[in-house]
Amino acid sequence: MVPDSPAPGTNVIVLAPSLSDEKRTACLDLLEAGPVGRLDVLHVTYSGAPADLVDQWRDHHGELPGRMGIVVVGDQPGQHPGGDSVPENVFVTTANPNDITGLGMRLNNYLNDHDEDSRLVVCFDSMTEMLQFAELQPVFKFLHMFAGQLREADAVAHFHIDPGAHDTQTISRLKPLFDDSVDLTG
């Protein structure tokens, strides 16, 4: 169901119900875009806990990637979501869901320190949640910009969306932003 690892510079839209096992498996597979030690993994999550993300990665891949960053988008600013449960070399930052620009700045800061010798892989989870806080227009602009940056960085990125939560118009509006799509709605 999940294709072989996409080529560098590809942005993939993953259509799957938010809490499905298929979604989680597809996600982990999509992140495996090279030797684990040479990966630079960036998670953008609206509802995941950093410790869980690290655990899931370890269960699936064994060792941690060369570099890992988690941006937690939540409406409790200032709170450090990682706590002590996240290994030191996993960078955790927070962003305000009502401030798309601020999220963009956080992501920029992470991309700025990306080492070109490693492969950048990105999971954006999810557009459905992003659309609960912002209008389609700014979300579209943001994704257009972010996808462009990732393409330029030769990243392998995927963006989650739950098709059940949106009308078809929204989905078809967003789809052209991506190079590939994975549909797990069956």
Partner: protein, 509 residues
């Protein structure tokens, strides 16, 4: 630990350097050396293997490279990051498509990606800068370039406070901000602009000011420390020039030059004053004390007489006209010794030019009343009677005016120097320059080894400045206070002469 600035003189002015982990503002007009001083501060950090960040808001990297071409600064140093920020119309992700003021680098770099940038707001600038953390030293050159942030001064001030917190607390850096000096009534497109230096100077830990001034037809650059919290800094104005290594700040006399040692000084009995003068009155020299008619010179001369007496020196006094006999007698009896006894034993000589003392005592001379008491004759008698002891003289100039012309005063002064004074004799001349012709006042100023001036401001505060001296803190103006215990007078400690605490706690002792 103070953070060295890259200028040894500035370090010594600041008692070691900039306060660590704090932000200091450098204000000044265009071309006064703000950026150079800032870059010099970073160069010093680089030389110490520290991480440095230069945030430019007005000049691109290439422009900076040009501007610093003549200096020894290495903009390509691996520990130096140069970035720029400025406000420019652009597109934001949140905006409805119309252009608004956005944050970009001066090289045109967008803060987000594609064609989008962040609005030119405090939080996005802060978020952008976070990528450069941590750093040891940060320069923001200049805050004036960020004034587009606030429609009003409060927003701008809060923004700068956020930056200061970010750099000091998050980065752990010692920071230097530059700002154009505030110009009153400066308007841009009919809108009064926020004077950057005004908005930020209250938030920063310290303020250094640079300016240019025409001195005798040439422009000279100057620096002063306007404030530096908790630092016992030099408060004087220093001259500044540019060199290959950056600004050169000329040192000023603040300690004993080689040819003087403390034993060559006679203590004034007032600790703060001794320190100000580099030890006290130069022994065998002449001190001139000028006052404005409001500030009292009496405490200084009383304390000097006490010191002279302690050393067994006979004292000659031409009492100040404003000091009535009863008052002077009380002072002498109380602080120096029994006046009658001192006069009788040739330890005190009083020359009563004003003719207000009873002429019944030995050693009270009245030049106005007796022709035989002409000044030269009087001083010859005094000289005879004091023998070979070193003498201390207190000579009020105004008191002699009713009797002597300017020319005669000059002659007497020369005569004293030539025929009266022994090598160990120390004298104090005092007057209010407003009561003398300019030429005569200048004559006394020329002849003095040391000059002190004291005056009262319109706020009612008395100050004292060391205007001339071979030692001490020349040009330093200090506050004068009167206290309940001996020596009844306190002079604010000169900068660097001791902690502020000791000035406040120990009555200047």
């Amino acid at each position: 630990m103070p953070v060295p600035t890259g200028s040894e003189t500035l370090d010594s002015i600041l008692d070691g350097g900039l306060p660590e982990g704090r932000t200091v503002l450098v204000t000044g007009g265009p071309g006064t050396g703000k950026s150079t001083l800032a870059m010099q501060f970073l160069a010093e950090g680089l030389a110490r293997d520290e991480d440095c960040l230069y945030i430019s808001t007005e000049q691109t990297f290439d422009e900076l490279d040009d501007a610093f071409a003549d200096f020894a600064f290495d903009l390509e140093h691996e520990n130096l990051t140069v970035t720029s920020l400025h406000a420019t119309p652009g597109q934001t992700v949140d905006g409805g498509g119309e252009r608004e003021l956005t944050l970009e680098t001066l090289e045109g770099g967008k803060m987000l990606g594609g064609d989008y940038s962040a609005p030119f707001e405090s939080k996005y600038i802060t978020q952008y800068l976070e990528r450069f953390a941590p750093a040891d030293r940060v320069v923001l050159d200049s805050v004036s370039g960020l004034s587009a942030i606030g429609e009003d001064q409060d927003v701008f001030r809060r923004t700068l406070l956020d930056f200061i917190r970010l750099l000091n607390d998050e980065f752990g850096a010692t920071a230097l901000f530059t700002a154009e000096e505030s110009q009153p009534d400066l308007t841009q497109n009919d809108v009064k602009t926020v004077a950057a230096s005004d908005a930020v100077q209250f938030n920063t830990h310290g303020v250094l000011r640079l300016w240019r001034e025409n001195v005798g037809g040439d422009y000279h650059r100057f620096l002063e420390v306007v404030k530096m919290r908790g630092v016992d800094h030099d408060t004087r104005v220093h001259e500044v020039s540019f060199t290959h290594e950056g600004l050169r700040i000329s040192p000023r006399l603040r300690t004993h030059p080689g040819e003087f040692v403390p034993s060559d000084h006679m203590s004034t009995g007032i600790d703060g004053l001794d320190r100000l003068m580099g030890g006290g009155v130069v022994e065998g020299g002449t001190l001139l004390l000028e006052h404005d008619g409001q500030a009292s010179p009496h405490s200084i001369l009383t304390n000097l007489m006490v010191q002279a007496r302690d050393q067994g020196m006979p004292i000659t006094i031409i009492p100040p006209v404003e000091l009535p006999p009863k008052r002077l007698r009380a002072i002498i009896d109380e602080r120096i010794g029994d006046m009658e006894e001192l006069l009788a034993n040739d330890q005190l000589f009083l020359v009563d030019f004003a003719n207000i003392w009873e002429n019944t005592r030995r050693n009270v001379f009245k030049p106005q009343e007796h022709d035989t008491d002409n000044p030269a004759a009087v001083f010859r008698t005094i000289d005879d009677r004091r023998g070979d002891q070193s003498m201390f003289s207190v000579l009020n100039v105004e008191a002699q005016l009713p009797v002597l012309t300017d020319d005669e005063l000059r002659q007497i002064r020369f005569w004293e120097e030539e025929n009266l004074y022994l090598p160990g004799d120390t004298s104090l001349y005092l007057f209010n320059p407003a009561t003398l012709s300019d030429e005569l006042a200048a004559f006394y100023e020329n002849g003095a080894w040391q000059t002190l001036e004291t005056w009262v401001t319109d706020k009612g505060l008395q100050y004292l400045e060391l205007k001339k001296s071979p030692s001490g803190f020349m040009g330093s103006t200090r506050l004068v206070e009167y206290i309940q215990e001996e020596p009844y007078m306190r002079i604010q400690q000169p900068p660097g002469a001791g902690s502020t605490e000791s000035t406040l706690d120990h009555g200047g002792q």
